[in-house]
């Protein structure tokens, strides 16, 4: 998995490419951890180029959201239909703020 960061004001946009699964979850976790520890409290994850999210991937996102707590936020956008369905059916779409595109994720 390849992750690239982009800054938009105080917000960091982390663009995930590839699958967020058991194999790649630890890299993604380290990356997001580094962002949080580096002082970023407003993170948007771009899933436009992510085809699959496993339970390990869900854990990465949940752990990051928990670390950010009430002071910061984690927003997601660009989820493909199958990934979106996993979030919907599990009820995680009510925990995360999920947007259709980057603009709405940034302007919310």
């Amino acid at each position: 998995m390849n992750i690239t960061d982009e800054k938009s004001g105080d917000v960091v946009i982390a663009r995930f490419e590839g699958s967020l699964d058991t194999r790649t979850a630890s890299d993604a976790m380290s990356h997001l951890d580094a962002l949080v520890e580096g002082g970023s409290s407003q993170i948007v994850v771009d899933f436009t180029s992510t085809d699959f999210v496993s339970s390990a991937g869900l854990r990465v996102l949940l752990a990051t959201a928990k670390k950010l707590g009430a002071t910061g936020w984690l927003r997601l956008f660009g989820l493909n239909p199958s990934v979106q369905e996993v979030f919907d059916v599990s009820g995680f779409s009510t925990i995360f703020s999920i947007f259709d595109d980057e603009a709405s994720a940034l302007s919310a």
């Binding site: 339970s55 928990k66 996993v86 919907d88 009510t94």
Partner: protein, 456 residues
């Protein structure tokens, strides 16, 4: 139109039953022991005639059941009534005897009017027909009605025989060798005479035969023979029906526990551990207490689809509004889910799913509670109760379960297998929204489980 299952019809049947029985009793008692029409009994008899004439209106408007369907066609109802009931009602209720009031004839010492009133005895058919109808329409166990039927049959037969026994002596002018002379009945009160007649009939019919009252002439011996034969048949019928009633009251219970005994003896013969046998017995005890011994899975398997849906909806009427999955589902989706779910009962400590298993469907908890446990963890990760569900994550992510789900007490769940889940997901786009709404309350718990590495 009056439905055969309506309350009005039930009340009318009870009235017919009471009125019919009373008229049979009065008519036979009056002819045998009073011999002349009295004003009060005549009034009662004619009032009962009125009730039976009213049945022409009531009966020809009451629906009936044929081949499991309630027939509401007025022509068919009237035709059936005309054929089956009307002749008896007319014979029994038209007061032919009123015409005879002008005559003074007293054949065998009894008023001609009363002889004609005997036509009302045809109402026996109506009385027993009504009991049969009540039995058929009884929603619950009709054992009570069968007992009433039995008592009425015995009472009517014994009463008629007692009246005939006394009337025979009276009509022949109390000959010197008659039983009635031996008992000095000519100077006895009406009630006393009836009691003695009834006493002889009962002792003879029940084969007790004390012999303190005995036939004295040829006619009485012949009558006595008849009573013995009728009595033997009657009491054979009463005892056989009574015995079958008592055994049928517990039939389902006996059959259920016999099955449990068979299972237990099989387990013993295969040297299965006692603790396992106890668990099996515990399951059956629970099945008996909560479901009267009926396994919903086998019951529902016997029923055709539409009927299964109706039964399921009734069985789950308390559950449907409380389980979010059903509460949020539109009717068509709810029906589809109901037909696709398999009821499962788990015993205390029993595992619904195990760590390492491949996903096989979603489990919806209906009653009881479960705990999520995993190897190496001393404490359960979470406890789930009625309304909660699990299994959807591994199903959608095609992963193996990383924990087991164990029942705390007896737990009842509905299992939606993976094939049905996929089919419903494809056929009903709203299913996803329903699951989202249903899962919103439990998402924090699920999030904690996922953070702990637990995927069910």
């Amino acid at each position: 139109m009056i439905s055969l299952e309506s309350r009005a019809r039930l009340l009318w049947d009870v009235l017919l039953l009471a009125a019919g029985s009373l008229s049979i009793f009065l008519v036979s008692y009056e002819i045998a022991l009073i011999h002349e029409p009295r004003v009060l009994t005549s009034l009662i008899v004619y009032a009962i005639d009125g009730v039976f004439l009213a049945d022409i209106w009531f009966g020809s408007r009451t629906t009936f059941r044929a081949f499991g369907v309630e027939v509401r066609d007025p022509d068919r109802i009237k035709e059936r009534y005309r054929r089956r009931r009307l002749p008896i009602i007319l014979v029994g209720a038209i007061p032919f005897d009123l015409v005879l009031l002008a005559f003074d004839g007293m054949p065998w010492g009894v008023s001609l009017v009363l002889w004609f009133r005997l036509l009302r005895l045809v109402r026996v058919e109506v009385v027993f027909g009504t009991i049969k109808r009540l039995e058929r329409n009884a929603r619950s166990n009709s054992a009570a009605l069968r007992i009433i039927n039995l008592v009425v049959v015995a009472a009517v037969v014994l009463h008629l025989l007692a009246c005939a026994w006394y009337l025979m002596a009276f009509a022949t002018g109390f000959p010197a060798d008659s039983w009635a002379v031996g008992e000095s009945l000519a100077s006895e009160t009406t009630g006393g005479s009836y009691l003695r007649s009834l006493y002889w009939v009962v002792t003879t019919a029940t084969t007790v035969g004390f012999g303190d009252i005995a036939p004295g002439n040829t006619e009485e011996y012949i009558f006595g023979l008849g009573v013995m034969l009728i009595g033997a048949s009657l009491f054979a019928y009463v005892i056989a029906t009574g015995a079958s009633l008592v055994s049928s009251l517990n039939l389902s219970k006996v059959a259920f526990w016999n099955r449990v005994d068979t299972v237990e003896s099989y387990l013993r013969s295969r040297r299965v551990e006692t603790s396992v046998s106890h668990e099996v017995r515990g399951y059956y005890e629970y099945l008996w207490d909560r479901h009267s011994g009926v396994s919903e899975r086998s019951l529902l398997g016997d029923l055709p689809g539409p009927l299964r849906l109706r039964v399921l909806t009734e069985l789950m009427r308390d559950l449907l509004p409380n389980v979010p999955l059903f509460a949020h589902s539109p009717p068509a989706l709810r029906d589809e889910l109901l037909l696709s779910l398999t009821p499962v009962i788990t015993q205390p400590g029993g595992y619904l799913v195990r760590e390492g298993e491949v996903a096989d469907g979603i489990y919806f908890i209906a009653d009881g509670g479960v705990e999520v446990v995993s190897t190496g963890a001393d404490e359960p990760h979470a406890r789930l109760g009625p309304g909660d569900y699990f299994g959807e994550l591994t199903l959608m992510l095609e992963e193996r379960r990383t924990a087991s789900v164990r029942s705390i007490g007896f737990t009842e769940v509905f299992w939606l297998d993976s094939t049905a889940f996929k089919r419903i997901r494809e056929d009903y786009s709203e299913f996803r929204d329903v699951l989202t709404k249903s899962s919103s309350d439990r998402s924090p718990t699920l999030a904690e489980l996922v953070l702990d590495g637990i995927v069910l």
